[in-house]
Every structure is written in C-alpha cells, then in structure tokens.
Symmetry: none
DNA sequence: CGCCTGCGTCAAGGATGCGTCAAGATCAGC
DNA sequence: GCTGATCTTGACGCATCCTTGACGCAGGCG
C-alpha cells in the first residue's frame, strides 16, 4: 500500500514500529542513522517518514533538510525532547508533525493516516493520462475511453493493462506481469497472460488479430506501444 | 496574509489567540460555538481552522465533518482531552493536528506554519455545489435537491455521497470509501457499501435499477458520474 | 520432413461479488 | 420509558468474473 521509512537508533522501537506498521498493510523501511536513511529514501522514495531527532551521526533536523526540496514527503518527528524550542525548530525545518516519546501507538497510527490522507491529493493531482489513436487510459481516474465511450474492464484486466501502460514502449517480462497482477506464486501460469491479453486486445485494439498496441515478444513478455 | 478561524468557547483563550495571531499578521475570525463557526466558514472560507472539541452546541468533531468535503482547509484541534481515543477520533474525522491544553504558544504557531506551508500549493477553492440533470448536491449547505424539493439523507448516506461527489468522474475504491465513511477498521465490510449505495440510488437516481450517476465498477469500487 | 514449444482462441465449471430484502440492534428525541 | 429513525447483519438469487483445459496454428530445430 504505502511505503513508510522509519529512522531511529533504538532497535526496540524500530522493531515495534515495523511490526505494527506491517500489520496495518504498510511497507516499512528501517534505518538506524541519518546516512542510511537518506540512502534508503533515494533508493525507494517513501510516502511518509518517521524521524527521530537523536541520531548517532547527525541531527534529525538535518535528515529532514536532506529530503525536503527534492522529495515531497510528509515527515513525522518522533522525539524524547519535550521542550518547545526543539519542536518549533523541527516543525520549521519542514516536519509536518511532532510526537513526543513515550507515545501511544494508536495516536501515532492516526497521525500517520492523517498525514497520508492530506498528501494523497497532491500525489494524484498529476493525472497520468496515456493517449493513443485508438483509446485513452486514465490511470488516475481508473478508466479507459474508446470512441468516446467507457470501456468496461474487469479488475484483472485493468491491473494487467495498468502494469503495461506504466512502462510505455518497454518490454515487461511474463514473470513480472504475473507477479504484479496475480502474485509471486503464479509466476509460471503463462496461460493467464494469454487469456487476459487476448481479452484486452478484443476490447482495445482496432484489429484484435493484428495487435498494434499490445505487442507480444515471443518467449519474453509483452510490450505496450503508445 | 492568511485567514484563520478560531472556534472555542473560552473567551480568554479566544482573546489570547486573537492577539497572538494578529500580531503575526494573520487575519483572525472568532466563533464561540459550532453553528457560528460553520456560518463563518461559509461566508469567509479560512485558510486554517483551530477547533476546540468541547463546544456548547455540538462536538468539535462535527464541526470538522461540517467543513470537510467542501473545504480543503487544514484543521488543528485544540482540546483539553488527553486520552488517546479522543485524539484518534478527531484525527480520523479529518483533523490535521491535535494539540492538548495547556499548550505553548510558540509550538502552536509552529504547527500553524507547518499546516499552512503544506496546504499552500493546493489552495483550490472547489465548487461547493454539484449539479446534474437529476439532482443538485450542495456540499456547503449539506443539502441535496431533486425536483425542487429537498431529499432527506441519513448521516451515513450523506457522508458516502459526499466522498463520491468530491471525486467526480473518478473511481473511488471500496477501501477508501469504507475508510472515510466508517473508519479504518471497517475496510472489509463491503456489505455496508452495497446497502448504502442502493439507498442513495433509490433516493437520487431517476431509475434506481439502471444507475446513471452512481456507477459500480465491479470488484474495484464506485464512481460518481456528473 | 516431423517433432516440439509457445502463442492465440474458445468454452465451461466453479467461485466470487453485487443487488435486494428484511429483521434485529442501536440510537435519539420526547 | 417509549417511539421512530437509523445502522448493522444475515440470507438469497443472479450476473459476472476467474480459472482451467482442450485445440489449432506458426516457427524453430534436429
């Protein structure tokens, strides 16, 4: 669902947060110091960050400064410092929220939900629309339009199309398609791909027997050609 | 600069906030209860709201619900309730931050700056009223008009309709609907959606058996089609 | 030339999700 | 404490979707 990067030097706290957050369906990245945190944020940009102020190698405020500017990610500061100047400094440095230890897990989860909720519209505001001569795919609104009318896609059809459209012009391997749409255990069920690609072609291609947009790369995978 | 609406029943606190906020260059509106607060928000849409939970005429959570949906304004809750359930409820109801009394003025000001900072780009004043050929939804006034007469909606029906209308033309997943209307713990109760969408259709659609405005996307969610 | 692998097509079963209805539980107002 | 409205919960029929298998066809290779 959503990726959360937790930065703290207390292993017990890291563990507690990892368990609680993964149980709620979040993907969790952990970092023990600022350097690894910044590296992790570069590699897998998170949707939200939880940052402790007291880190071994740098101050948490500098971590915030390190991502602010190039990453529009909400930051929740988690700190043992109760004093007001620390809070003001962290908030003015770019933090979105400040929670003092010890904290209630339910409250933190609620604040995470609030932060993600208000960040959602900005992330979706840039509606990624893919236009071809035959049809239009609106990933944000989750709809496909052809000849001015909506095309009804089943959830699986939509999911498959989504993966292909997200990599325009590039080859997507059967393994990757099966894994993203059906899950890791279906990597060998290439049958599914044949059936559902055929259904997508029937609904989208002008001439389904000679595909123009959903191209087969024999033995390798499929490609969406815009 | 920025307009802030403060809702609290304590005259001393209102005065203190008015002085401090105007000194920082904010324009300040004051309200002593929920009714006047909602009226003030309709007349002069604020850029930020500070809401106390204990109001004489209604709960602060209801004030948040009254503006959420038609006004994208950050809300900071200011409350004497320290208990976690109250915080979670307020945050899930749409609040962006929760500060407990007694509070430090500098911290509150910093939280105000943080809330305004992230809200700045999306200062989109969306149209509070949506018109279709069959009915009219007024998000600001919380009214639905059909054939010139008011349609009676229950609170839950209204809440559901509100979420759908706020994303016109876009698919809203069942997860998102359940989370916003019933709360994070009801994400799997798809029964509720079926029941309440049916009730909305019965009250709004010209032909409830063949929906025109409240469209089902099987397996994915629902869509409001203006 | 024949075999084999991989792809496209089709159809049928079983499973799932949706709409509908109604009754019990809960809440609010008097 | 009662009454009506509202919310929750369960059951049922029906449509749709997913899965699975079989078949034909084309291209590569021995």
């Amino acid at each position: 669902m959503n990726r959360i990067l937790v930065v703290d030097d207390d292993p017990a706290l890291l563990r507690a947060l990892r368990i609680n957050l993964t149980a709620r369906g979040y993907t969790v990245d952990l970092a023990r110091d600022g350097t690894t945190a910044l590296a992790a944020a570069t590699k897998h940009p998170p949707d939200l960050m939880i940052v402790d102020l007291g880190l071994p190698d740098m101050d948490g405020v500098d971590v915030i400064g390190g991502v602010r500017g190039w990453l529009q990610v909400p930051v929740i500061v988690l700190s043992a410092r109760h004093l007001e100047p620390a809070k003001v400094a962290a908030l003015d440095a770019g933090a979105d929220d400040y929670v003092t230890k010890p904290f209630g897990m339910d409250e933190l989860l609620a604040r995470i939900r609030a932060a993600l909720r208000r960040a959602a519209p900005s992330a979706v505001a840039e509606t990624p629309v893919t236009v071809t001569e035959a049809f239009t795919v609106d990933l944000g609104a989750r709809r496909v339009i052809r000849d001015g009318a909506d095309v009804r896609l089943t959830p699986t059809e939509w999911h498959l199309l989504e993966v292909l459209v997200r990599h325009p012009g590039r080859l997507v391997s059967q393994r990757q398609l099966l894994q993203e749409v059906w899950g890791p255990r279906y990597e060998s069920e290439t049958n599914y791909l044949r059936v559902y690609v055929a259904q997508l072609r029937a609904k989208l291609e002008p001439d389904p027997s000679t595909p123009r947009y959903l191209i087969t790369e024999p033995g390798m995978g499929y490609r969406f050609e815009p």
